[in-house]
Amino acid sequence: MQPILEVQQLKKYFSTQKAVDDVSFRIEKGAIFGMLGPNGAGKTTLIRMITGIFFPDSGSIIFDGKSFDPSTDIAKIGYMPEERGLYKKMKIGEQALYLARLKGLSKAEATEKIRYWFQRLEMDTWWNKKVEDLSKGMSQKFQFVTTILHEPSLIILDEPFSGLDPVNANLIKDEIFRLAKNGSTIIFSTHRMEQVEEICDHIVLINKGKKILDGTVKNVKQEFKENLFEVGFEHKAGETSANSIFEVTEQKDQSLILKIHEGFKPHDVLQYFLSLGQEITSFRELLPTLNDIFIKLVEGTPLAREFQPLSSSS
């Protein structure tokens, strides 16, 4: 299937730093794509290039099979920035109408869609309220609606759950799944890893302007697994003598966490314990969480990048 978005060797250098430095990836239609990275990694710059706010210094963006043309393609993109922005003194209904019409919807079309979404998310009574009268969570919800009103084929959500209570967060999460199922593609930018594991199919990790990881959540976990297994025992965890198959990294009351050495398989471990006559109640592989992987990859690099002078700018 043709990807909805493909970026190739994208570069954007600012005078004081390389914000995005040779990044390439592709996003399949209908995917929920996680764009991860610490603060200041270059995610926002990358997103701003995809939304047509910035022009890349070099590289190309292919949107829906064609070279990205901001003047027409941004109507098919919905972007909810991390820094939420709404006109505080404007009425909710008028504001939704304005934002939808800016995306090219007619007044009648926009009104109809707004009514549909307001009803769906139980916001009917908000029409004549002003944003300044809404709570943080409410305005968050409203911003989400304005982002997806024009039924964009690519939806970019930067930290969509921050400030939402669990009930509303679940509501939005369900809407995200539903939108993806109906064919929209979602780029989901966050540094809340547990949400990524739950929602995303595919992730890239950006650090210091470079892509340092790219793959499906499952593959990434496999790639970073450390061959750790947890073995549970019927009785107290048995004594293990030094052996060439594995080493114990943690000893618990009724279980052991062990790391299997190169060249051996889980099968060999089981055989070892069976030969000792120990009764095993459970045996499972311990895969790293995305959080572990994130920390492992990013650790040691300062959170916000120091500004580095450029020797030469292209």
């Binding site: 706010i53 920035p81 820094e83 404007m90 304005t146």
Partner: protein, 436 residues
């Protein structure tokens, strides 16, 4: 184009619908007209009632009779058998508003005449009294010098000089004071428009930046469209407000005579109009109206609208750039705004000079230099400006506003997306020169 129209519409409607817009639009002309009405009322107030003036003439200067002054409505009574001291305490009870005391005096000196009153005396009444006394003294001295008063009258000259401006359309009367007033008012208006609506643009941009809505909008429309839409939208607000003001002022001006009928009578009375408006130097109301006709009204109106729009576009672009560079801090805005305010204030100062001396080199320079020309040119226009200067000034202004808008767009594009960082002039320069 469609997006710009939407943005203009929003900028315009949200402002026009605000209560504060309605209030300022209605209140300002009412305040101005009230001020105007009060000024007129005060200047002739004492005169709306007939004054009774008591006179004790110890010098027998007036000889018991008065030579009437034209349009003098005061009633004079000679009081006998009273001294200044005794009458001073009771003239009010006897129904007089004023009490004039003429002491005895030596022929070669001037008498020390006192006018007693309860409150400060109306200027017209005072000048009428002075005229009466001076004529009486003159007559007395003519008699003493054995000169026939009739002969003296025929000798005395009272010339008034009339200024004629020679233009291609033939002669016309020069109304120096009227031209001065019109120039000054037009200059001040342009100055205020640039300042008020320029800062309105700046605040609008700052609001969008601090609200973070700018990032949402620029993912739908180009930053340039957003900036231009805002500038044009607020300009339209300005034009609307202005049009309402003009209509309201004209309407209120017509209403004034209904509220103060006696005031209107006085104004239509040529002699009194002269007296109550002594500073215009233009003579009667009729002459003022004639003077207005002699001014190049169409040219003034056209120039006003042109400099209003072009000047506004120029300064609005600058203010938009400043607004985009400012992060939340109001104080920072004050610092950045200073270089933009400077030429505005300079223009105002030059304009004040230009109305007095419209062809001085500083006035000519100020009316050509694009940052000051909208204000200064309005200060010169009523006196007649050479065509080449007017055309050059307008051309320079248009070129400059196009250039500044292009420049402002570059700063704006970077500025509105940059949060929480103090921007230096050096950085703004970099945004300006960078490519792409």
């Amino acid at each position: 184009m469609n997006k710009i129209r939407l943005i203009i519409e929003r900028e315009y409607l949200t402002r026009v619908k605000r209560k504060s817009f309605l209030i300022t639009t209605l209140v300002v002309p009412i305040i101005i007209m009230a001020f105007y009405a009060i000024m007129i009322a005060v200047s002739i107030s004492g005169d709306t009632k007939t004054q009774s003036i008591a006179i004790i003439d110890d010098a027998n200067l007036l000889d018991g009779k008065l030579e009437m002054i034209k349009n003098d409505k005061s009633i004079y009574h000679f009081i006998q058998d009273e001294s200044e001291q005794s009458f001073k305490s009771k003239y009010k009870q006897e129904g007089y508003q004023l009490f004039l005391y003429i002491p005895q005096f030596h022929d070669s000196t001037l008498p020390r005449i006192k006018l007693h009153s309860q409150a400060s005396v109306n200027l017209i009444v005072k000048s009428n009294l002075e005229k009466i006394i001076n004529r009486a003294i003159e007559n007395k001295r003519l008699k003493a010098a054995k000169i026939n008063p009739e002969l003296y009258k025929s000798i005395k000259a009272e010339t008034e000089i009339e200024n004629i401006i020679d233009s291609r359309k033939g002669e016309k009367k020069g109304i120096a004071m009227l031209a001065y007033a019109v120039s000054f008012i037009a200059g001040i208006l342009i100055y205020m428009i640039l300042l008020i609506y320029g800062t309105m643009v700046m605040r609008g941009v700052m609001e969008e930046k601090t609200n973070r809505i700018a990032e949402v909008i620029v993912s739908s429309a180009k930053p340039f469209e957003l900036m231009l839409g805002k500038i044009v939208g607020i300009g339209a607000v300005g034009l609307t407000q202005f049009a309402i003001w003009v209509v309201l002022m004209l309407f209120l001006q017509l209403m004034i005579p209904l509220f103060f009928p006696e005031l209107f009578q006085h104004l239509s009375d040529p002699a009194l109009a002269t007296a109550s408006l002594p500073e215009t130097g233009a003579g009667t109301m009729a002459e003022i109206i004639e003077g207005f006709r002699s001014l190049p009204l169409m040219l003034i109106l056209f120039s006003f609208v042109f400099y209003f729009l072009a000047g506004y576009l120029l300064y609005a672009a600058l203010f938009a750039a400043i607004g985009s560079a400012v992060s939340e801090d109001q104080q920072e805005a004050q610092q950045l705004i200073f270089p933009v305010m400077m030429p505005l204030i300079l223009g105002f100062v030059m304009m004040a000079k230009a109305v007095n001396d419209p062809d001085s080199s500083i006035a000519v320079f100020g009316s050509l230099f694009p940052l000051t020309s909208p204000i200064v040119m309005m200060g010169r226009i009523t006196y007649g400006v050479p065509w080449w200067q007017l055309i050059l000034s307008m051309a320079l202004l248009v070129i400059t506003f196009l250039f500044f808008t292009w420049m402002a767009a570059k700063i704006y594009r970077t500025g509105i997306l940059l949060y929480g960082k103090k921007v230096t002039w050096k950085e703004m320069w970099k945004w300006l020169v960078k490519k792409g």
